[in-house]
Protein backbone atom coordinates (compact mmCIF):
# COMPACT_ATOMS: atom_id res chain seq x y z
CA UNK A 1 0.00 0.00 0.00
CA UNK A 2 1.53 3.28 -1.12
CA UNK A 3 1.28 6.22 1.25
CA UNK A 4 -1.03 9.13 0.55
CA UNK A 5 0.94 12.35 0.76
CA UNK A 6 -1.85 14.74 -0.23
CA UNK A 7 -5.57 14.45 0.32
CA UNK A 8 -8.05 16.79 -1.28
CA UNK A 9 -11.44 16.65 0.43
CA UNK A 10 -14.73 18.12 -0.81
CA UNK A 11 -12.89 20.90 -2.49
CA UNK A 12 -14.76 23.70 -4.26
CA UNK A 13 -13.35 26.79 -5.96
CA UNK A 14 -15.14 29.89 -7.15
CA UNK A 15 -14.19 33.00 -9.08
CA UNK A 16 -16.74 35.54 -7.92
CA UNK A 17 -19.98 33.58 -8.38
CA UNK A 18 -18.73 31.12 -11.00
CA UNK A 19 -17.90 27.70 -9.61
CA UNK A 20 -14.78 26.27 -11.27
CA UNK A 21 -14.18 23.19 -9.12
CA UNK A 22 -17.00 21.00 -7.82
CA UNK A 23 -16.57 18.67 -4.86
CA UNK A 24 -13.12 17.38 -5.74
CA UNK A 25 -11.99 14.38 -3.71
CA UNK A 26 -8.57 13.06 -4.51
CA UNK A 27 -5.60 11.39 -2.82
CA UNK A 28 -2.16 11.77 -4.30
CA UNK A 29 0.30 8.93 -3.75
CA UNK A 30 3.85 9.56 -2.68
CA UNK A 31 6.71 9.32 -5.21
CA UNK A 32 4.41 9.08 -8.17
CA UNK A 33 3.65 11.33 -11.08
CA UNK A 34 -0.04 12.17 -11.14
CA UNK A 35 -1.27 13.84 -14.28
CA UNK A 36 -4.29 16.12 -14.26
CA UNK A 37 -5.70 16.31 -17.75
CA UNK A 38 -8.77 17.73 -19.34
CA UNK A 39 -9.89 20.24 -21.94
CA UNK A 40 -9.23 23.98 -21.54
CA UNK A 41 -11.34 25.57 -18.84
CA UNK A 42 -11.92 22.32 -16.95
CA UNK A 43 -10.27 23.73 -13.81
CA UNK A 44 -7.00 21.82 -13.89
CA UNK A 45 -4.83 24.90 -13.40
CA UNK A 46 -7.18 26.17 -10.71
CA UNK A 47 -6.81 22.86 -8.89
CA UNK A 48 -3.02 22.75 -9.05
CA UNK A 49 -2.71 26.38 -7.96
CA UNK A 50 -5.00 25.67 -5.02
CA UNK A 51 -2.45 23.14 -3.77
CA UNK A 52 0.27 25.73 -3.11
CA UNK A 53 -2.20 28.49 -2.35
CA UNK A 54 -1.35 30.68 -5.31
CA UNK A 55 -4.98 31.82 -5.32
CA UNK A 56 -4.23 33.88 -2.22
CA UNK A 57 -3.18 36.63 -4.65
CA UNK A 58 -6.44 36.57 -6.61
CA UNK A 59 -8.91 38.66 -4.62
CA UNK A 60 -12.02 37.28 -6.31
CA UNK A 61 -11.06 33.62 -5.87
CA UNK A 62 -12.70 31.67 -3.04
CA UNK A 63 -11.84 28.15 -1.89
CA UNK A 64 -13.87 25.71 0.18
CA UNK A 65 -12.90 22.32 1.54
CA UNK A 66 -9.65 20.83 2.74
CA UNK A 67 -6.32 19.97 1.24
CA UNK A 68 -4.21 17.88 3.61
CA UNK A 69 -0.47 17.52 3.27
CA UNK A 70 0.58 14.59 5.48
CA UNK A 71 -2.75 15.01 7.28
CA UNK A 72 -2.21 18.70 7.96
CA UNK A 73 -4.62 21.21 6.41
CA UNK A 74 -2.74 23.50 4.02
CA UNK A 75 -5.31 26.23 4.50
CA UNK A 76 -4.60 26.31 8.24
CA UNK A 77 -0.85 26.64 7.68
CA UNK A 78 1.23 29.71 6.88
CA UNK A 79 1.11 30.14 3.08
CA UNK A 80 4.88 30.78 3.11
CA UNK A 81 5.50 27.36 4.67
CA UNK A 82 3.06 25.71 2.27
CA UNK A 83 4.93 27.08 -0.72
CA UNK A 84 8.30 25.99 0.62
CA UNK A 85 7.02 22.44 0.97
CA UNK A 86 5.20 22.44 -2.34
CA UNK A 87 7.27 23.76 -5.23
CA UNK A 88 5.95 24.88 -8.57
CA UNK A 89 7.09 24.98 -12.19
CA UNK A 90 5.10 27.25 -14.48
CA UNK A 91 3.94 27.16 -18.10
CA UNK A 92 6.56 29.57 -19.31
CA UNK A 93 10.13 29.30 -18.01
CA UNK A 94 10.53 32.16 -15.52
CA UNK A 95 14.09 32.29 -14.16
CA UNK A 96 14.93 35.54 -12.35
CA UNK A 97 16.50 37.74 -15.03
CA UNK A 98 18.57 39.78 -12.60
CA UNK A 99 20.26 36.75 -11.02
CA UNK A 100 23.05 34.42 -12.14
CA UNK A 101 22.37 30.73 -12.74
CA UNK A 102 23.82 29.94 -9.32
CA UNK A 103 21.67 32.57 -7.59
CA UNK A 104 18.60 31.37 -9.45
CA UNK A 105 19.02 27.87 -8.06
CA UNK A 106 19.58 29.15 -4.54
CA UNK A 107 16.90 31.85 -4.94
CA UNK A 108 14.42 30.17 -2.60
CA UNK A 109 16.87 30.47 0.28
CA UNK A 110 17.89 33.99 -0.66
CA UNK A 111 14.30 35.20 -0.94
CA UNK A 112 13.40 33.69 2.40
CA UNK A 113 16.50 35.12 4.03
CA UNK A 114 17.77 31.68 5.02
CA UNK A 115 21.52 31.86 5.68
CA UNK A 116 23.58 28.97 4.38
CA UNK A 117 27.29 28.24 4.62
CA UNK A 118 29.22 28.49 1.39
CA UNK A 119 29.66 24.74 1.35
CA UNK A 120 25.94 24.07 1.80
CA UNK A 121 25.14 26.55 -0.94
CA UNK A 122 27.52 24.90 -3.36
CA UNK A 123 26.20 21.47 -2.48
CA UNK A 124 22.56 22.45 -2.91
CA UNK A 125 23.25 24.12 -6.25
CA UNK A 126 25.25 21.19 -7.61
CA UNK A 127 22.78 18.62 -6.32
CA UNK A 128 19.76 20.47 -7.74
CA UNK A 129 21.39 21.05 -11.11
CA UNK A 130 22.42 17.39 -11.28
CA UNK A 131 18.87 16.29 -10.52
CA UNK A 132 17.54 18.54 -13.26
CA UNK A 133 20.21 17.15 -15.63
CA UNK A 134 21.80 20.54 -16.15
CA UNK A 135 25.02 20.36 -14.20
CA UNK A 136 27.26 19.37 -17.10
CA UNK A 137 25.77 22.04 -19.34
CA UNK A 138 26.20 24.99 -16.99
CA UNK A 139 28.85 24.06 -14.44
CA UNK A 140 31.39 26.39 -16.11
CA UNK A 141 28.97 29.31 -16.36
CA UNK A 142 27.32 29.22 -12.96
CA UNK A 143 27.94 32.89 -12.25
CA UNK A 144 26.70 34.16 -15.57
CA UNK A 145 23.16 35.35 -16.02
CA UNK A 146 20.93 32.79 -17.66
CA UNK A 147 20.36 34.89 -20.77
CA UNK A 148 22.22 32.49 -23.06
CA UNK A 149 20.19 29.46 -21.98
CA UNK A 150 17.63 27.97 -24.35
CA UNK A 151 13.96 27.77 -23.40
CA UNK A 152 14.30 24.12 -22.37
CA UNK A 153 17.38 24.85 -20.29
CA UNK A 154 15.61 27.77 -18.62
CA UNK A 155 12.74 25.46 -17.72
CA UNK A 156 15.15 22.90 -16.26
CA UNK A 157 16.77 25.74 -14.32
CA UNK A 158 13.31 26.51 -12.89
CA UNK A 159 12.94 22.85 -11.94
CA UNK A 160 16.34 22.96 -10.24
CA UNK A 161 15.26 26.12 -8.41
CA UNK A 162 12.14 24.39 -7.13
CA UNK A 163 14.06 21.20 -6.19
CA UNK A 164 16.65 23.23 -4.25
CA UNK A 165 14.02 23.91 -1.59
CA UNK A 166 13.70 20.12 -1.14
CA UNK A 167 9.92 20.22 -1.57
CA UNK A 168 7.71 17.28 -0.74
CA UNK A 169 5.57 17.88 -3.78
CA UNK A 170 6.43 19.50 -7.09
CA UNK A 171 3.59 21.01 -9.08
CA UNK A 172 4.14 21.24 -12.82
CA UNK A 173 1.67 23.46 -14.63
CA UNK A 174 1.94 22.49 -18.32
CA UNK A 175 5.72 22.73 -18.04
CA UNK A 176 6.37 21.96 -21.70
CA UNK A 177 3.66 24.01 -23.38
CA UNK A 178 6.14 26.74 -24.36
CA UNK A 179 8.89 24.36 -25.48
CA UNK A 180 9.90 22.65 -28.73
CA UNK A 181 9.56 18.84 -29.10
CA UNK A 182 13.19 18.11 -28.30
CA UNK A 183 13.19 20.17 -25.12
CA UNK A 184 9.82 18.64 -24.24
CA UNK A 185 11.26 15.12 -24.53
CA UNK A 186 14.14 16.13 -22.29
CA UNK A 187 11.83 17.53 -19.60
CA UNK A 188 9.58 14.46 -19.75
CA UNK A 189 12.56 12.19 -19.28
CA UNK A 190 13.63 14.33 -16.35
CA UNK A 191 10.19 14.12 -14.71
CA UNK A 192 10.27 10.33 -14.95
CA UNK A 193 13.67 10.27 -13.24
CA UNK A 194 12.70 12.69 -10.47
CA UNK A 195 10.02 10.36 -9.05
CA UNK A 196 12.53 8.93 -6.60
CA UNK A 197 13.04 12.30 -4.92
CA UNK A 198 9.74 14.03 -5.09
CA UNK A 199 6.01 13.52 -5.65
CA UNK A 200 4.87 15.32 -8.77
CA UNK A 201 1.52 16.60 -9.94
CA UNK A 202 1.49 17.47 -13.61
CA UNK A 203 -1.13 19.51 -15.38
CA UNK A 204 -1.30 18.80 -19.09
CA UNK A 205 -3.73 19.06 -21.94
CA UNK A 206 -1.60 16.59 -23.85
CA UNK A 207 -3.00 13.06 -23.48
CA UNK A 208 0.12 11.48 -24.95
CA UNK A 209 2.27 13.27 -22.42
CA UNK A 210 0.12 12.05 -19.54
CA UNK A 211 0.37 8.52 -20.95
CA UNK A 212 4.15 8.73 -21.34
CA UNK A 213 5.19 9.99 -17.93
CA UNK A 214 2.47 9.62 -15.33
CA UNK A 215 1.58 6.67 -13.10
CA UNK A 216 -1.84 8.01 -12.22
CA UNK A 217 -4.17 10.21 -14.18
CA UNK A 218 -7.00 12.46 -13.12
CA UNK A 219 -9.54 13.45 -15.73
CA UNK A 220 -11.29 16.72 -14.98
CA UNK A 221 -14.21 17.95 -17.01
CA UNK A 222 -16.19 21.14 -16.37
CA UNK A 223 -14.84 21.38 -12.85
CA UNK A 224 -15.76 17.82 -11.94
CA UNK A 225 -13.43 14.96 -11.25
CA UNK A 226 -14.68 12.41 -13.75
CA UNK A 227 -12.16 9.65 -13.31
CA UNK A 228 -9.01 8.91 -11.36
CA UNK A 229 -7.05 5.74 -11.99
CA UNK A 230 -3.73 4.21 -12.91
CA UNK A 231 -2.66 5.85 -16.14
CA UNK A 232 -2.29 2.68 -18.20
CA UNK A 233 -5.66 1.47 -17.00
CA UNK A 234 -7.43 4.73 -17.81
CA UNK A 235 -5.78 5.05 -21.19
CA UNK A 236 -6.82 1.55 -22.24
CA UNK A 237 -10.09 0.93 -20.43
CA UNK A 238 -11.68 4.15 -19.22
CA UNK A 239 -14.72 3.60 -17.00
CA UNK A 240 -16.57 6.81 -17.78
CA UNK A 241 -18.01 7.57 -21.19
CA UNK A 242 -16.76 11.18 -21.05
CA UNK A 243 -13.19 10.00 -20.43
CA UNK A 244 -13.45 7.67 -23.38
CA UNK A 245 -14.75 10.44 -25.62
CA UNK A 246 -11.97 12.78 -24.50
CA UNK A 247 -9.28 10.16 -25.02
CA UNK A 248 -10.56 9.32 -28.48
CA UNK A 249 -10.63 12.96 -29.47
CA UNK A 250 -14.38 13.49 -29.61
CA UNK A 251 -13.92 16.80 -27.72
CA UNK A 252 -11.21 18.81 -26.02
Amino acid sequence: MESKILKIKDFNAYYDDAQVLKDINLSILKNNVTAIMGPSGCGKTTLIRAINRMHDFTPNARMEGEILLNNEDLYQMEPIIVRRKIGMVFQRPNPFPTMSIFDNVIAGYKLNGIKLSKEDRNNIVEDSLRKSAMWDEVKDNLHKKGSFLSGGQQQRLCIARALAMKPEILLLDEPTSALDPKATAHIEELISELKDYVTMILVTHNIAQAARISNYTVFLYLGELVEYDKTNKMMTTPKDKRTEEYLTGKFG
Partner: protein
Protein backbone atom coordinates in the same frame (compact mmCIF):
# COMPACT_ATOMS: atom_id res chain seq x y z
CA UNK B 1 3.66 52.73 -68.69
CA UNK B 2 2.01 51.92 -65.43
CA UNK B 3 5.32 51.21 -63.81
CA UNK B 4 6.85 54.46 -64.90
CA UNK B 5 3.94 56.45 -63.61
CA UNK B 6 4.28 54.79 -60.22
CA UNK B 7 7.94 55.74 -60.02
CA UNK B 8 7.27 59.41 -60.59
CA UNK B 9 4.48 59.60 -58.07
CA UNK B 10 5.56 60.99 -54.72
CA UNK B 11 3.95 58.70 -52.23
CA UNK B 12 3.20 59.06 -48.54
CA UNK B 13 6.20 56.93 -47.58
CA UNK B 14 8.67 59.32 -49.18
CA UNK B 15 7.05 62.41 -47.72
CA UNK B 16 6.96 60.85 -44.27
CA UNK B 17 10.61 59.80 -44.53
CA UNK B 18 11.70 63.33 -45.38
CA UNK B 19 9.42 64.80 -42.74
CA UNK B 20 10.90 62.75 -39.91
CA UNK B 21 14.39 63.21 -41.33
CA UNK B 22 14.07 66.99 -41.39
CA UNK B 23 12.64 67.15 -37.87
CA UNK B 24 15.75 65.35 -36.64
CA UNK B 25 17.99 67.78 -38.53
CA UNK B 26 16.13 70.76 -37.06
CA UNK B 27 16.48 69.34 -33.56
CA UNK B 28 20.22 68.76 -33.88
CA UNK B 29 20.75 72.20 -35.41
CA UNK B 30 18.82 73.76 -32.57
CA UNK B 31 20.94 72.12 -29.88
CA UNK B 32 24.20 72.85 -31.68
CA UNK B 33 22.99 76.40 -32.32
CA UNK B 34 22.21 77.06 -28.65
CA UNK B 35 25.52 75.59 -27.61
CA UNK B 36 27.54 77.55 -30.16
CA UNK B 37 25.82 80.86 -29.42
CA UNK B 38 26.37 80.38 -25.68
CA UNK B 39 30.08 79.86 -26.37
CA UNK B 40 30.27 82.86 -28.71
CA UNK B 41 28.52 85.23 -26.32
CA UNK B 42 30.44 84.06 -23.30
CA UNK B 43 33.75 84.34 -25.14
CA UNK B 44 34.74 87.65 -23.43
CA UNK B 45 34.75 86.06 -19.98
CA UNK B 46 36.16 82.76 -21.21
CA UNK B 47 39.10 84.70 -22.65
CA UNK B 48 39.45 86.96 -19.62
CA UNK B 49 39.13 84.47 -16.73
CA UNK B 50 39.74 81.08 -18.32
CA UNK B 51 39.36 78.26 -15.81
CA UNK B 52 39.36 80.86 -13.04
CA UNK B 53 35.71 81.49 -13.87
CA UNK B 54 34.80 78.06 -12.54
CA UNK B 55 37.17 78.05 -9.57
CA UNK B 56 36.86 81.71 -8.58
CA UNK B 57 34.99 82.51 -5.36
CA UNK B 58 34.37 86.19 -5.98
CA UNK B 59 31.43 87.51 -7.94
CA UNK B 60 31.64 91.29 -8.06
CA UNK B 61 29.95 93.09 -10.95
CA UNK B 62 31.31 96.47 -9.78
CA UNK B 63 34.95 95.51 -10.15
CA UNK B 64 34.01 93.10 -12.94
CA UNK B 65 35.49 90.11 -11.21
CA UNK B 66 33.51 86.98 -11.96
CA UNK B 67 33.96 83.56 -10.36
CA UNK B 68 31.02 81.16 -10.50
CA UNK B 69 32.25 78.57 -8.01
CA UNK B 70 29.70 79.43 -5.26
CA UNK B 71 26.84 79.04 -7.75
CA UNK B 72 28.14 75.78 -9.15
CA UNK B 73 28.36 74.42 -5.62
CA UNK B 74 24.97 75.92 -4.75
CA UNK B 75 23.36 74.16 -7.71
CA UNK B 76 24.96 70.79 -6.99
CA UNK B 77 24.25 70.89 -3.25
CA UNK B 78 20.60 71.94 -3.53
CA UNK B 79 19.96 69.38 -6.28
CA UNK B 80 21.56 66.48 -4.49
CA UNK B 81 19.96 67.23 -1.14
CA UNK B 82 16.61 67.48 -2.91
CA UNK B 83 17.30 64.16 -4.59
CA UNK B 84 18.23 62.43 -1.35
CA UNK B 85 15.13 63.80 0.39
CA UNK B 86 12.72 63.01 -2.42
CA UNK B 87 14.00 59.57 -3.41
CA UNK B 88 12.66 57.56 -0.44
CA UNK B 89 9.30 59.29 -0.72
CA UNK B 90 9.09 58.68 -4.48
CA UNK B 91 10.03 55.05 -4.21
CA UNK B 92 7.56 54.42 -1.40
CA UNK B 93 4.75 56.12 -3.29
CA UNK B 94 5.52 54.07 -6.39
CA UNK B 95 5.61 50.79 -4.43
CA UNK B 96 2.38 51.71 -2.68
CA UNK B 97 0.62 52.44 -5.97
CA UNK B 98 1.96 49.46 -7.90
CA UNK B 99 1.94 46.74 -5.25
CA UNK B 100 -0.41 47.60 -2.39
CA UNK B 101 -3.10 49.89 -3.77
CA UNK B 102 -3.27 48.63 -7.32
CA UNK B 103 -6.59 50.24 -8.12
CA UNK B 104 -9.54 51.95 -6.58
CA UNK B 105 -10.44 55.40 -5.38
CA UNK B 106 -7.43 55.93 -3.13
CA UNK B 107 -5.07 54.72 -5.87
CA UNK B 108 -6.50 57.23 -8.32
CA UNK B 109 -6.49 59.99 -5.74
CA UNK B 110 -2.85 59.45 -4.75
CA UNK B 111 -1.75 59.05 -8.36
CA UNK B 112 -3.45 62.23 -9.50
CA UNK B 113 -2.07 64.15 -6.53
CA UNK B 114 1.46 63.11 -7.42
CA UNK B 115 0.92 64.05 -11.04
CA UNK B 116 -0.58 67.34 -9.96
CA UNK B 117 2.63 68.22 -8.11
CA UNK B 118 4.35 68.32 -11.51
CA UNK B 119 1.67 70.58 -12.88
CA UNK B 120 1.95 73.30 -10.24
CA UNK B 121 3.76 76.30 -11.77
CA UNK B 122 7.14 76.88 -10.21
CA UNK B 123 6.26 80.46 -9.24
CA UNK B 124 3.58 79.06 -6.93
CA UNK B 125 6.12 76.82 -5.20
CA UNK B 126 8.35 79.88 -4.79
CA UNK B 127 5.55 82.05 -3.54
CA UNK B 128 4.26 79.45 -1.12
CA UNK B 129 7.84 78.75 -0.03
CA UNK B 130 8.64 82.36 0.68
CA UNK B 131 5.48 83.33 2.53
CA UNK B 132 4.46 80.14 4.30
CA UNK B 133 7.40 77.76 4.46
CA UNK B 134 10.20 80.27 5.16
CA UNK B 135 8.57 81.62 8.37
CA UNK B 136 8.29 78.06 9.63
CA UNK B 137 11.96 77.40 8.89
CA UNK B 138 12.78 80.66 10.69
CA UNK B 139 10.92 79.48 13.81
CA UNK B 140 12.82 76.20 13.74
CA UNK B 141 16.11 78.02 13.30
CA UNK B 142 15.37 80.30 16.24
CA UNK B 143 14.48 77.32 18.37
CA UNK B 144 17.86 75.76 17.62
CA UNK B 145 19.70 79.06 18.00
CA UNK B 146 20.77 79.33 14.37
CA UNK B 147 20.78 82.70 12.62
CA UNK B 148 17.15 82.83 11.48
CA UNK B 149 17.51 83.64 7.81
CA UNK B 150 14.63 81.34 6.88
CA UNK B 151 15.71 81.50 3.30
CA UNK B 152 18.78 79.53 2.26
CA UNK B 153 20.25 76.38 0.78
CA UNK B 154 18.22 73.95 2.90
CA UNK B 155 14.94 75.76 2.31
CA UNK B 156 15.54 75.71 -1.44
CA UNK B 157 16.44 72.01 -1.28
CA UNK B 158 13.24 71.20 0.61
CA UNK B 159 11.06 73.03 -1.90
CA UNK B 160 12.97 71.38 -4.74
CA UNK B 161 12.55 67.92 -3.23
CA UNK B 162 8.77 68.31 -3.33
CA UNK B 163 8.89 69.61 -6.88
CA UNK B 164 10.86 66.64 -8.22
CA UNK B 165 8.89 63.86 -6.49
CA UNK B 166 6.49 63.34 -9.41
CA UNK B 167 9.28 62.80 -11.95
CA UNK B 168 10.93 59.90 -10.17
CA UNK B 169 7.70 58.58 -8.62
CA UNK B 170 5.73 58.25 -11.86
CA UNK B 171 8.59 56.57 -13.73
CA UNK B 172 9.31 54.22 -10.83
CA UNK B 173 5.59 53.40 -10.68
CA UNK B 174 5.52 52.59 -14.39
CA UNK B 175 8.57 50.31 -14.33
CA UNK B 176 7.54 48.54 -11.12
CA UNK B 177 4.11 47.87 -12.63
CA UNK B 178 5.84 46.39 -15.67
CA UNK B 179 7.59 43.66 -13.67
CA UNK B 180 6.35 40.43 -15.29
CA UNK B 181 3.87 38.59 -13.11
CA UNK B 182 5.70 35.36 -14.06
CA UNK B 183 8.78 36.22 -12.04
CA UNK B 184 6.70 37.52 -9.14
CA UNK B 185 4.79 34.22 -9.09
CA UNK B 186 8.08 32.32 -9.27
CA UNK B 187 9.24 34.12 -6.13
CA UNK B 188 5.96 33.55 -4.31
CA UNK B 189 6.02 29.87 -5.25
CA UNK B 190 9.37 29.58 -3.46
CA UNK B 191 7.84 30.87 -0.25
CA UNK B 192 8.78 34.54 -0.43
CA UNK B 193 6.66 37.12 1.37
CA UNK B 194 5.30 40.19 -0.36
CA UNK B 195 8.05 42.35 1.11
CA UNK B 196 10.73 39.86 0.02
CA UNK B 197 9.32 39.80 -3.50
CA UNK B 198 9.40 43.60 -3.64
CA UNK B 199 12.92 43.85 -2.24
CA UNK B 200 14.61 40.97 -4.01
CA UNK B 201 12.73 40.56 -7.26
CA UNK B 202 10.77 43.68 -8.21
CA UNK B 203 13.29 46.36 -7.20
CA UNK B 204 16.30 44.67 -8.85
CA UNK B 205 14.22 44.10 -11.97
CA UNK B 206 13.12 47.72 -12.19
CA UNK B 207 16.36 49.31 -10.98
CA UNK B 208 17.36 50.74 -14.36
CA UNK B 209 13.99 52.42 -14.78
CA UNK B 210 14.13 53.77 -11.24
CA UNK B 211 17.58 55.23 -11.89
CA UNK B 212 16.25 56.78 -15.10
CA UNK B 213 13.48 58.48 -13.12
CA UNK B 214 15.94 59.75 -10.53
CA UNK B 215 18.07 61.25 -13.29
CA UNK B 216 15.10 62.94 -14.84
CA UNK B 217 14.27 64.50 -11.50
CA UNK B 218 17.91 65.47 -10.98
CA UNK B 219 17.92 67.20 -14.36
CA UNK B 220 14.81 69.02 -13.30
CA UNK B 221 16.36 70.04 -9.98
CA UNK B 222 19.56 71.33 -11.57
CA UNK B 223 17.74 73.69 -13.87
CA UNK B 224 14.85 74.75 -11.64
CA UNK B 225 14.92 78.54 -11.47
CA UNK B 226 11.95 80.47 -10.19
CA UNK B 227 11.11 78.69 -6.96
CA UNK B 228 14.76 78.37 -5.99
CA UNK B 229 15.52 82.02 -6.76
CA UNK B 230 12.74 83.09 -4.42
CA UNK B 231 13.81 81.09 -1.37
CA UNK B 232 17.57 80.60 -1.63
CA UNK B 233 18.61 84.05 -0.41
CA UNK B 234 20.66 85.13 -3.44
CA UNK B 235 23.97 85.48 -1.67
CA UNK B 236 27.17 85.55 -3.69
CA UNK B 237 29.22 84.11 -0.87
CA UNK B 238 29.99 80.41 -0.78
CA UNK B 239 27.58 79.03 1.84
CA UNK B 240 29.34 77.64 4.92
CA UNK B 241 26.34 75.82 6.35
CA UNK B 242 23.14 74.40 4.89
CA UNK B 243 21.19 77.16 6.62
CA UNK B 244 23.17 79.94 4.97
CA UNK B 245 21.75 81.77 1.99
CA UNK B 246 23.33 80.94 -1.34
CA UNK B 247 22.69 81.00 -5.04
CA UNK B 248 22.40 78.51 -7.85
CA UNK B 249 23.52 79.00 -11.42
CA UNK B 250 19.95 79.33 -12.61
CA UNK B 251 18.97 81.76 -9.86
CA UNK B 252 21.92 84.06 -10.53
CA UNK B 253 20.98 84.33 -14.17
CA UNK B 254 17.34 84.99 -13.33
CA UNK B 255 18.22 87.61 -10.74
CA UNK B 256 20.85 89.56 -12.57
CA UNK B 257 20.28 89.49 -16.31
CA UNK B 258 18.29 92.72 -16.16
CA UNK B 259 21.13 94.48 -14.40
CA UNK B 260 23.86 93.23 -16.70
CA UNK B 261 24.76 96.51 -18.30
CA UNK B 262 28.35 95.88 -19.29
CA UNK B 263 29.40 93.37 -21.94
CA UNK B 264 31.62 91.46 -19.52
CA UNK B 265 28.79 91.15 -16.96
CA UNK B 266 26.41 89.80 -19.58
CA UNK B 267 29.09 87.50 -20.91
CA UNK B 268 29.66 86.17 -17.38
CA UNK B 269 25.97 85.35 -16.98
CA UNK B 270 25.89 83.63 -20.35
CA UNK B 271 28.93 81.59 -19.38
CA UNK B 272 27.04 80.45 -16.29
CA UNK B 273 24.29 79.33 -18.65
CA UNK B 274 26.85 77.41 -20.68
CA UNK B 275 28.22 75.85 -17.52
CA UNK B 276 24.75 74.79 -16.40
CA UNK B 277 24.12 73.20 -19.77
CA UNK B 278 27.40 71.28 -19.61
CA UNK B 279 26.71 70.07 -16.05
CA UNK B 280 23.25 68.89 -17.05
CA UNK B 281 24.54 67.14 -20.16
CA UNK B 282 27.35 65.51 -18.18
CA UNK B 283 24.94 64.14 -15.57
CA UNK B 284 22.72 62.85 -18.35
CA UNK B 285 25.59 60.98 -19.98
CA UNK B 286 26.73 59.49 -16.68
CA UNK B 287 23.13 58.51 -15.99
CA UNK B 288 22.78 56.73 -19.33
CA UNK B 289 25.89 54.75 -18.50
CA UNK B 290 24.48 53.78 -15.11
CA UNK B 291 21.19 52.70 -16.69
CA UNK B 292 23.09 50.56 -19.19
CA UNK B 293 24.98 48.89 -16.38
CA UNK B 294 21.82 48.19 -14.40
CA UNK B 295 19.85 46.98 -17.40
CA UNK B 296 18.47 43.49 -17.36
CA UNK B 297 20.16 41.25 -19.91
CA UNK B 298 17.55 38.55 -20.14
CA UNK B 299 14.46 38.89 -22.26
Amino acid sequence: MMLKKKNIKINGDTIFKYAIGSSVVVLIMLIVGIFVSLIVYSYPTIAKFGFGFISGHTWDPVTEEFGAYPFLIGTLITSFIALILSFPVSIMISILLSEYLKSGVIHNYVKSSVELLAGIPSIIYGFWGLFIFVPVVREVQMYFGITPYGIGILTASLILSVMIIPYSATIAYEVISLTPSEIKEAAYSLGATHFEVIRKVILPYSSSGIVAGVLLSLGRALGETMAVTMVIGNSHILPDTLFAPGNTMASVIANEFTEATSDVYLSALIEIGLLLMIVTAFINVVGKMIIKKFSVGMS
